[in-house]
């Protein structure tokens, strides 16, 4: 029996539905996703980059410039908050903005969020923005204020968690802004290293269980900092085996847990960075991802039959790209943007050097 997953007509139909789903994110969202109210920037990045990877960036529901302007509207500049406040960067939404005058201090509790800064930069790159409206120094100095003595980084200056996720966002931001001088990368390595568990992979903080998401954040951070080589041969060997062992058909994120489509990305990208993705079974992986595809809404969900959501939809698209499915654009497995967007970044870096 022919596997319909590879049928060109079915692929086209599904791509159309995915495009519709992603476009919708940029338009209007139902109230039931209210917990994402402070993460709209992340959703924008997922949608824009998802369309890009599908080669459908021409189907954005707004112009590139409108979205770019919307993104910059979330930038907290050094005029509004001091650069050492840890606040300069991008907000996730305008939910707590009280003054439409962009040059006036909003209020003391107006702060940026590292993951939103990372999301904003990725979306801007994908949309073709040259990042010239940024004060790089302000953003980086703010991040400097957020790094803790143990090397970890908090997302905001509001008593938040300081786990490996935000070290990842930081490394992406430093990589994109092409400047590592504001963070202590030695300490960052030490913190990441301390998240290695007896299982051979990384938990979110020291002592926590080895987990696919944290492992991606750790490995991608090390990759971007050029410090993967600082792990020992034995550590790399155990890490590789732990990651490979996550594949059941799709992938799970922790030992003895059910598969979840997003780990096709978190683990898939990690394996790609470790240069061993080709040791996995692509067919089983692709088939599982599509089992989670919802034909009605056009998105991917964590499990077959579950409701889709923007994160799993974007991760599903990225995971398919990693295993060369159809003619999806290749992605940069650490920054998680298309190769095209990454090439635009390289040009920006060249321009900055001159």
């Amino acid at each position: 029996m022919e596997n319909l997953v590879y049928d060109p007509e079915i692929i086209e139909k599904r791509k159309k539905k995915l495009v519709k789903y992603l476009r919708q994110i940029l338009c209007i969202l139902p109230y039931r996703i209210i917990s994402l109210d402070t993460s709209k920037m992340l959703l924008t990045y997922f949608s824009v980059s998802g369309l890009d990877i599908l080669n459908k960036l021409d189907q954005l529901p707004h112009t590139n410039q409108d979205i770019i302007n919307w993104i910059y509207n979330h930038l907290i500049s050094e005029n509004i908050r001091g650069i050492e406040s840890g606040s300069c960067g991008f907000r996730g939404s305008t939910t707590l903005v009280v003054d439409q005058n962009k040059n006036v201090q909003n209020h003391e509790y107006d702060c940026s969020h590292l993951t939103m800064t990372f999301s904003a930069l990725n979306a801007l790159l994908t949309l073709g923005d040259d990042l010239s409206r940024l004060n790089k120094r302000a953003i980086l100095k703010s991040i400097q204020a957020l790094q803790l003595p143990d090397g970890s980084i908090t997302a905001t200056n509001q008593d938040g968690e300081n786990d490996v996720r935000f070290l990842y966002s930081t490394c992406c931001v430093c990589y994109i802004l092409d400047d590592w001088s504001y963070i202590d990368t030695e300490k960052a390595f030490e913190f990441i290293h301390s998240c290695l568990t007896y299982e051979g992979a990384f938990g979110q903080i020291p002592g926590a269980e080895a987990h696919g998401g944290s492992t991606f954040c750790a490995v991608a951070s090390l990759f971007l900092m050029n410090k993967l080589i600082c792990l020992s041969d034995k550590e790399i060997h155990c890490l590789k085996q732990w990651c490979l062992n996550r594949q059941q058909n799709g992938f799970n994120g922790r030992v003895n847990k059910p598969t979840d489509s997003c780990y096709s990305f978190w683990i898939g990208a990690t394996l790609k960075l470790l240069d061993i993705l080709h040791f996995t079974n692509y067919d089983d992986n692709i088939n599982y991802i599509f089992e989670t595809f919802d034909d009605i809404t056009g998105g991917f969900s964590k499990w077959p039959g579950f409701s889709p959501d923007p994160l799993h939809t974007y991760m599903g698209i990225c995971a398919l790209s990693l295993v060369n499915f159809s003619n999806l654009k290749k992605i940069h497995p650490a920054l998680v943007i298309s190769e095209d967007a990454y090439q635009k970044l390289k040009i920006i870096h060249e321009n900055w050097k001159n």
Binding site: Y109, Q158, I205, E209, A210, H237, Q247, R254, V255, I276
Partner: protein, 328 residues
């Protein structure tokens, strides 16, 4: 009233506009709201309209405190609301034990939300009273024995307040219920590292692994834990435990198909690699035997016991060939 609000909940989060007649709510910036618009309810707009006004005025008051409750009920992921609430907690000298009760309720309804666990931690830090915390995490773990936030939080309580006495029993009871609960195994290792990991304790732990492997040889959690133990024993200078070799060999020599597990086989292969490297220039016969055995096992994995990773096992085979060329 939206579907997601019961009538009880709705009363507790509705705004009494008379209470707020002196302050104008601030609307969200609509010009830039065209992208990623959420279909906010009227109630949400009211609550956050007044909260924006409170932030702008930097108002420290009881009504502001109540407002933060409404706001976090509507969106417990809004970290700034929680942050502002903590400021009000301090400035107004609120009863932190009452706050603990409240956050217990909210975590119960949102057990996978980061901000609510962070808030609990902040409150407990202020109270410096961990007496309810182990019981609380146990309750959450009863609902979901692998809740990552609950385990992470429990570990913070253990370490911060040096509360270790209950942990081994706790973790053992969870493993008895589900010997594949990897979170419990991870916690077990965490407790070991932070308390007694003397040679006798580690030996006891190895026996514990054997006991669980005899129930089910194909349990990845146990094999990972066992490898962690063995690495620790070597690191602490106790040497590689001979009984682990014996256990593996016994299982591997078994003819029964269900006595072989891919984790058992790859465990032995990893062990073999270390031994073969050690003896490479000193004991040719031993190395030859180890290499032959490893080739056999790698082929078994690729062809029969772990075919989904066949490409990897074939790659490892090529690595063995490369390193031990003369023994092929």
């Amino acid at each position: 009233m939206s579907d997601s609000e019961s009538s009880d909940d709705y009363d507790s989060i509705a705004i009494d506009k008379n209470e707020w007649s002196d302050l104008n709510p601030i609307n969200q910036d609509h010009e830039t709201n065209e992208i990623c618009r959420i279909a906010y309810t009227e109630n949400f707009n009211d609550v956050f309209g007044y909260f924006r006004a409170v932030l702008k005025a930097n108002e420290i008051s009881e009504r502001a405190f109540d407002l933060t409750y409404k706001a976090v009920k509507l969106n417990p992921a809004n970290y700034t609301v929680w942050f502002y609430r903590r400021i009000l907690l301090k400035e107004l000298g609120k009863d932190l034990n009452h706050e603990l009760k409240l956050v217990t309720q909210i975590i119960d309804q949102n057990p996978k939300n980061y901000q609510v666990w962070q808030h609990r931690r902040n409150v407990v830090e202020l109270l410096q009273d961990p007496s309810k915390e182990l019981e609380f995490t146990e309750k959450i773990l009863q609902q979901d024995s692998k809740n990552y936030h609950a385990w992470q939080y429990r570990q913070w309580v253990n370490k911060n307040f040096a509360l270790w006495d209950q942990e081994l029993d706790f973790v053992s009871s969870l493993i008895t219920v589900d010997y594949k609960n990897n979170s419990a195994w991870n916690h077990r290792f965490f407790c070991l590292i932070n308390t007694d990991h003397s040679e006798s304790v580690l030996n006891r732990e190895v026996d514990y692994c054997f006991e669980k492997l005899n129930l089910n040889i194909n349990n990845e959690s146990v094999w990972n834990y066992l490898r962690g133990l063995v690495d620790l024993m070597v690191k602490e200078g106790f040497g590689y435990p001979e009984k682990v070799c014996q256990f593996c060999n016994l299982k591997l020599e078994s003819k029964k198909e269900d006595e072989l597990s891919p984790f058992l086989i790859s465990f032995k292969i990893d062990y073999n690699w270390t031994r073969a490297i050690e003896k490479k220039n000193s004991d040719a016969n031993a190395v030859k035997e180890i290499v032959q055995q490893s080739i056999l096992y790698l082929n078994l994995l690729a062809q029969k016991y772990d075919t989904i990773r066949a490409n990897y096992w074939k790659y490892l085979l090529s690595k063995w060939k490369q390193e031990f060329d003369q023994y092929f």
